[in-house]
Amino acid sequence: MAAPVAFAHDFWIEPSTFRPAVGAMISTSLRVGQEWIGDPVARDTSVIEKFFVRDNSGDRAIAGFEGRDPAGLLRIEKAGGAIVGYRSKPQRLELPPEKFEQYLRDEGLERIAAIRAQRGESKKPSHEIYSRCAKSLLVAGDGATKFDKPLGFRYEIVPLKMTADAIEVRVLYESKPLAGVLVTAMHRDDASLRLKVRSDANGRVTFKLPKRGVWMIKSVQMISAPPGSNAEWESLWASLTFEL
């Protein structure tokens, strides 16, 4: 079987462990790819807008060596939940029409395809700017985990509640719940587990997760690109990685 071809790619944070010991040094790698198969992304400060960790004691920037993978290194200082956040600056992507249309279908962005069709642009190449809003949830030691506060990214998946076999998240766009957007959950080690749900009126999604292990929840928001950007569309890629 040939590998499935996607034309726009997921972006996620892959820590060396999701359950670090207090005091441990861990790496937080950045990955671009699809289906959990990622290429390492080296630390590139020209693209990073924010790369930090939020835990009980506040926010700390994540250090790392420029041009090297893993992009981030972090010491876990306190027990409890910690969220690693990565926000990129916008980058430009141009795709031929058939690839862009396929990407819109893959990411549940049919409403953009409909607008393009209405404007007679379906056969035209796309000019897009995109940026990343990646998060990773770490649990250190046995401390109480509290992680339902948003980091304040423009597009964000916020974990609300996690049980042994389910997770509830809320999708926020510019700090407001976003309804009707496609949200996907993917198990890292079991390619058959690909769950797709649209968010409810409150931007909420609940996934029944049939298997323990490492998961990614992702969603793409697309809007008209701002004037002066020389692009028609702007996409925001949110991801959340965690271990159940």
């Binding site: 590998a3 693209v47 600056k89 701002p226 002066g228 950007s229």
Partner: protein, 332 residues
């Protein structure tokens, strides 16, 4: 403030706002994130290419989904796809193959990475250039240097004829002296023909056999022996002007040695894999041409009438040189 001034201010404000917006969305030009993948493509003067992909073999394996690597790499010369020999290595993928005849340009694409990566392209000993590629994007054509593209058969013939010829004239003073030694024995055509034929036959045999790896002698032995052969023919010229029966046999034996010497040179020059025999035969023919040229020039310079006068002094010089080289090559 008059109306004109107001308008100007409004224009300036607009321009300022535009600049701010433009700056705010001064997006980075690369399309996908820059990964740690790197691809090196080298085009060598032995007319082969090697493409090395530096990436995690685990990720590559996962993306292959059991497919052969060849299915996911698109190597093209002049727009024609070629299938390389592919292997997975601890640092990624290695692809190798022969550069096709008449190739001018190379293009590359593969679909096993999703990040932007750098493709380094290098014509051997001509320096490298690089291109940034987008995931599964196609590179722009890379122009191949002339010396990495395999020559046509006709080019091989011309090139190796010339190499063979110049190996004698002007580069091979030792061979020139040997041939002169053969020439100086007698003024008659027949003995000269017998010697030259015997020498040619012998050096063709060992040149071929050595190049095919059938026989081999270290140059430490071959080179002094060649020098000694020069001294021998010259000394014999002083002693006799008859073609003794053993002379042809000895010349044949020396020919065997000279053939190994030619092979040493040819090996240094290198033979095109695809046109091995063509090059070998052409080189031998070139050597032959060089020898005939030496004899021709000698025949003009030393007219029959007074040749007997130069035989002894010339042979003495040749013999001395031969002996000197023998010692020099033995020591060196």
């Amino acid at each position: 403030m008059n109306a004109k001034c107001k308008m100007q201010n409004a224009k300036l404000a607009c321009l300022f706002a535009f600049c701010i917006l433009h700056f705010a969305f001064a997006v980075i030009a690369s399309a996908h994130e820059i990964g740690t993948t790197r691809v090196d493509a080298t085009f060598k003067r032995d007319h082969t290419y090697a493409v090395t992909v530096f990436a995690s073999p685990d990720a590559i394996k996962k993306r292959l989904h059991g497919d052969a690597i060849e299915k996911h790499v698109f190597i093209e010369f002049n727009g024609n796809r070629v299938v390389p020999h592919a292997e997975l290595t601890p640092t990624g993928i290695r692809l190798t193959g022969e550069i096709p005849l008449h190739a001018d340009a190379f293009t590359w694409r593969y679909d096993l990475t999703y990040s932007s990566y750098v493709l380094m392209l290098e014509n051997e000993s001509h320096g490298a250039t690089r291109q940034w590629l987008e995931g599964d994007g196609m590179s722009t054509p890379f122009v191949l240097a002339r010396d990495v593209v395999p020559p046509t058969r006709l080019q091989v013939v011309g090139q190796y004829l010339a190499l063979g010829f110049t190996h004698i004239v002007p580069r091979g003073l030792d061979h020139i002296l040997f041939v002169l030694g053969l020439f100086l024995l007698t003024t008659r055509i027949k003995p000269l023909l017998a010697q030259v034929t015997s020498f040619t036959l012998a050096h063709s045999i060992t040149l071929g056999l050595t190049m095919y790896g059938v026989v081999s002698l270290p140059s430490k032995i071959v080179e002094p022996a060649i020098a000694l052969s020069i001294a021998y023919v010259a000394i014999e010229n002083i002693v006799t002007s008859e073609l003794k029966p053993w002379r042809v046999a000895i010349v044949f034996a020396f020919g065997l040695l000279h053939g190994m010497g030619f092979a040493g040179v040819l090996r240094e020059l290198g033979l095109p894999r695809r046109e091995f025999v063509t090059a070998l035969v052409s080189f031998n023919a070139g050597v032959e041409g060089g020898q005939l040229f030496v004899i021709g020039v000698a025949a003009i310079l030393f007219a029959r009438k007074w040749r007997h006068r130069v035989v002894v002094p010339a042979s003495l010089v040749i013999a001395a040189t031969g002996l000197f080289w023998t010692v020099q090559r033995l020591i060196g």
